[in-house]
Symmetry: D3
Subunit: 320 residues, 6 copies
């Protein structure tokens, strides 16, 4: 069932929380500091038992130089550098096996899948550690280091995502001028963040993105992972304001405002995990050209396979 | 958690319910009757937005001549007829979109996916109707027509599955002498049934198969779909024996006893939907060479992607 | 708890979705076509272990001539033809045993209970098959054949219900000029449909009726059976509009608009299965005299036994 | 699913807990004390909107002289005193309306329904207060006064049930020499208790009876109401032994041992509320002739309407 | 998540149900009648295995002279009479052990804990019986005697709470001029009631109080214990108005209107058990000075330990 | 309900998994390495709003020198060094506020409460970070670093717990020769580990301890936190053996075998979180004098307040 605003109100929705005054400064410093360590992507051929595509096991230096894993999957028969799509992964998942990532390479693109630090255990395997500091946290990742934006888990992960584009571009068969980013849920949120931080990507194609309009989200849903924030605040009763001050540096609405590439969203009207108003909150302020595909009867599965087909259609428009 | 027999007891488990005296006769007549209508597979090229593989939209005549849909997916670059794998689908799902079936074609095989009549609505789309008669039934498919083996839903579906092998073999790029069948859950059950009914397939590779050892299953689990049978018997209190008399014509253990090709199973020790003893019940009486991969900490997800990789490894052993 | 409109807003609620242009034409043709086969009700004396009432096992020709079962229960001591009440059954149930239907005959009326095709397995036994075609469907009955109004399950069932009145009237001890229809939930919906399709009944007495204001229902509840429609649309993401186009031919609000007999409803303000606004949507447009009894603290149990007593009181007013 | 002993082990099951040494003395004194107050049943004609049966609103003096309500329902057309069935009600329910109790009068018997003190609010209305003392108790009735057998709720209720037989017998149209008792769940338990305490009844027909083999029950189920005892003991950690000492005076197994009339039980093998071993524990020690009908696929619904039909068949055997 | 009014609307919320015309008369008579029996508090030294505090096992005469238990806990090192805090307990709990009540005595106050009649079994032990009459009731305490305000359970409990203040004041080491009352949930409701009935207390410090704005509560939550009232009305469908007429004599909003001492509340915005609008309903009409601490991310745990610290800070302000 | 072995079988239960050959070596090296950094406990006076006790905010160097927080609570009136109890905290909790820890100081002991690194957010606040490395992990703490015993979260936490005894002993008002350790669940597990690693403590008093007999636990329960291990293995299907190899260095049964001080356990027979056989597995091999208190009707709440009273009684025996 629906539980959020009506479709008309969603189209007009604005999330009015003020941004931190030093939002841009915070991210400039963060990226500068990270930039001192080269991305240094390594590509090692990997036998994934597949014949129509070719797989590379990737390692690159993410936040703090931590080794971040990924897959680069290419059509086995190709000629010249290919347009690429960089994909980020939903909450709790990891890069898994190449056989789980066949869609976009089978459609003819270079497909770079970034593993998620410290996750990759709840529903798909990952191979990347999160060696960062973490204060008291609710089980999960969304409250790790929540008392200080410098310690917050997503500072490390957003930097990884930012640098994944450079890692993908480093492969000789990738055309660095034609790269889009995508992902579902947390992966969609990372797409939005990267689009707000980089000027050199062609598009972000987020599906039912997470990490947006935190105060709205925590008011209207009791589903995880937003509910992990509520749980944290329910325990640390006197520190809720401090936690939300941290989250404000990571809110998708702020990144969307700064994104100038194309933004092609999907949203599901019965999604309790990434409620529609929080998705529209980011979509409605996107600075570049933007569109949103609405799935009226879906919950967090969103458009499912239709979201994948939609992504390919956007790539066709962009790169063919 | 585990809830069934220990691993040692599973290895020795026998399901002792007697078979119907006319089991073979019933199936001989059923297949003969069905055989009077030609399979008449049609293959129509389908644009699935993919480049490394080639997709055909298939229609063939199943039970009663009903039109059954499917996909045939082939590597785009190929030379000569390919070994093929015919795949059946789990309960409630349908053939969906070709982009959901990339693993085996990407691994170099012809991949034939059979749609499931009347299902394809709960978690993946299907396009095939079930025009068969149906008496009073619990929501779901497993009690449709349960009062008479001739009316029972799975009589129609087992015949579809039997004929899908012929449909696949009818394509010129498929090597009819090198066909294996596979599937997960209900799809695994169909693989077992086909292996018991046909002598011309190379192997069945069922993952966590359903539809086996019905009396054991309904005693030890309260998970659907087996629980739909319990629900039916709980309502039709005086007709339970009649229902189980019907089910006995469809029990995977009877098909396994008759299967002479290789049987390569997987089972999950914490699976409440297809409890391990019901899977071992079929595996332990398989007449051909057989093996079983045990996933000790999984529930009905079984080996997940590892089951797919395992399938490819078995195909490599059989066909390379 | 309440989750729908306030009582004041319910009283004023209008469901604004447009009707299909050919709604009347569709039903005229459907009934004409059905009418070519005689109802041919048969009444066979049945020993139900009862002494104050007399039971007949009924079979009549419903949609497509399919044999539909029912019970006719009459007071054992009677003189002359009796006013009758035709009752339809809630979702998943069947006619069960005569001992389950003693209220209205004990109150002095002829009581005709119509079995529901294909149901009668979840909570009370039924004996009637649904031999109709069915495309891919979510477990349950409400999405069977949903892609085309001609194939839709409720086309067959509405016709059965329409003809049940004629079947009841065919018994010599029934006074065909004094027949009312009733039922709870799905049974209430059938009462509403019959009242919209027939001019010769004295009243419809629907309790917490189902199958009304489909778009409103699917937006505001996540309870089955309306949620089966949501599930179907969530899977068949690109066919939702087509499904709702079919449902529009079966919406209780359209039948209510055409009903000229008395309509005596009940509604429960905490009912998530048949939400109050969907019940009021039908009640508020009823063309004949109408009233509604509100149960403010009940969920889908509605008035329970009070609904039965209420029914008898309405029958007393109508027929005494 | 099944969770208790196998059918073979159930047939042989013995519940070995010792009885209180003064069990018979306790009940002799209790009944003697109660017997000093006359039952004084009053029968007031009641308009239940029914015509085939006749209804009397009954009040009689139960434990402590408290006024206990009931219904007496008689076939409207009758000649001479009728055999009677006294029925007790399941946990939480009350006597409701006469229209809810039509089966046995419609079958030709006098039907006496005893209301349950203090209950009658969860699922069917009651009209009888429980003015007895009650110590700290878990919500529900089964731990009221559990620290002392004299204060225990069921001491009062068992006495009411014992005296209901005398109240029924007091009506001139009841044949006091032909009375059976019945009930479902708690009502079944009261039937068993009355059969153990009175020599003048023809039979007890308990369906899935409650209140038997308390230690076994609390070990093997976590369903209410047995779980209320577990909850009480979990809170009053140091008083569990005292609680079970009280319960031993009310255990159905002890009453069954003393019952010399016919005992005709039903049991459901998937019943978590009154687990099968606790039902067999009473059945297996019944001193009179006894039989048990097994519902293998049912939970606490037991035989449902089949239990009612079974009851009528037993009455036919006893009284026709 | 939030489910009630916004914070702004809560601050302005008024619960508009009219009070019974004889509200004050009802309570004056009740207290007068009760006052005829002396409180007669007894204090018996109790070895609670503690050394920094001293414990007394208290018994006093509550409603009807029933013996009510409690603890009086005092700092072991003290000089002169101490200010005291009387604490009432949440639904289902009892006085437990002294070691569970160390906060306020450790903070330097006399702490009087009143046991709750008939409860003390679900989550903390109690030792006090409820010998009052009780009609048919839903399991729990909130519908006991609900058909008549004179029989209603809370009439007895409110009188106990009223007299507990006198019992506390009776101890020589308690300064009767400096007494505050407090409690959580039901305990908070008792604080509010006592503040409305007595002029001699210094403050009420209710945390997330229960028993307020009954009609609003039963409309907006389906959580117990308010849901017990809904359940009662759902069963006793024709007596809901009578039940709410009783409840009106016990509504916290009416007591708050009469309270002239300080009222220091807490409320949790995600509390489904005592929804925020029902707490604000009482707070907003408090006649004395009042304040409310808001816990935006908590459910019925409210401020938890912060509520205890808050209580001590209020006591410091009042009594230091 | 019970779900594990019978009480007799529990008393005889042995968990037979072999220990790692280098178990003692692993821990000797771990503690030696840790020991190079001084514990350096600091005690800062803290105003906890309390008067009968005195509170110190403690910081000491735990594993890797990480700052670990704690509370030291002392009776305000004391003479000479006191015996002390060091308490560890259950899963997800932290040290909270001193007012939450009044029992043992009020009983006359020095009470040292150790905060838990990285936890303290789910149900009670903590103030200690876990700066250790962590590979992909299921939300929670029990799979952090599970692929290598050197990286495993509990290596860090066990070292913290080991050193907390030294931190407590460092305060001048603590008698270092009279120190016991205690805790509930995870806190109980830490007590067991410390008792196996240190020869200088007087007793361990674990209540329903966690982290014992891992293979047994993961087989028989699906409750968290053991289920987090199952989840991890279900995702990382090919690495389960490696994970259990790590866990073997942290199994309470191995520490219990090496413990020579008194071990006084509690266990709850209906505890799904720390199943009874896993508690007995540790208790039954304890080398020092040992006893176990059984709570037959409790789940993971165990003895609750009775466990606290029991702890004080053991301290009285040891130290008075």
């Amino acid at each position: 069932m629906e539980f959020d605003l009506t479709l008309d109100d969603l189209a007009a929705y604005r999330y009015d929380e003020p941004e931190p005054a030093d939002f841009d400064e915070f991210w400039r410093r963060t990226l500068d500091e990270a930039g001192r360590i080269p991305v240094a992507a390594e590509f090692v051929a990997h036998d994934a038992l597949l014949r129509t595509v070719e797989t590379h096991d990737v390692t690159f230096a993410g936040y703090g130089g931590d080794p971040i894993k990924g897959w680069l999957i290419l059509p086995a028969h190709r000629s010249g550098p290919l347009p690429a799509i960089v994909e980020y992964i939903g909450y709790g998942g990891g890069r898994g096996e190449p056989i789980e990532w066949l869609a976009y390479a089978s459609a003819g693109y270079a497909h770079f899948v970034m593993d998620t630090r410290g996750q990759g255990s709840t529903w798909r395997t990952g191979d990347t550690a999160d060696p960062g500091a973490s204060g008291p946290a609710v089980p999960g990742y969304v409250t790790r280091g929540i008392l200080d934006p410098h310690d917050y888990y997503y500072r490390r992960l957003y930097v990884d995502a930012y640098r994944a584009v450079e890692a993908a571009a480093a492969h000789p068969d990738v055309d660095a001028t034609r790269i889009a980013v995508t992902g579902r849920s947390q992966g969609g949120a990372l797409s939005v963040a990267v689009a707000g931080l980089r000027a050199d990507i062609a598009a972000a194609i987020p599906h039912v993105p997470f990490l947006s309009a935190f105060k709205q989200a925590t008011r209207i849903t009791d589903a995880n992972p937003y509910a992990e924030i509520v749980r944290w605040c329910a325990t640390h009763r006197t520190k809720a304001a401090q936690a939300f001050a941290t989250l404000a540096y990571f809110d998708g609405t702020s990144f969307a405002r700064r994104a100038t590439c194309r933004g092609s969203f999907s949203v599901a009207l019965m999604d309790p995990i990434c409620p529609p108003s929080t998705v529209y909150a980011a979509h409605n302020v996107w600075s570049g050209p933007h569109d949103i595909t609405v799935w009226p009867y879906n919950d967090h599965d969103g458009g499912g396979v239709e979201d994948e087909l939609r992504t390919i259609r956007v790539l066709r428009e962009l790169f063919d």
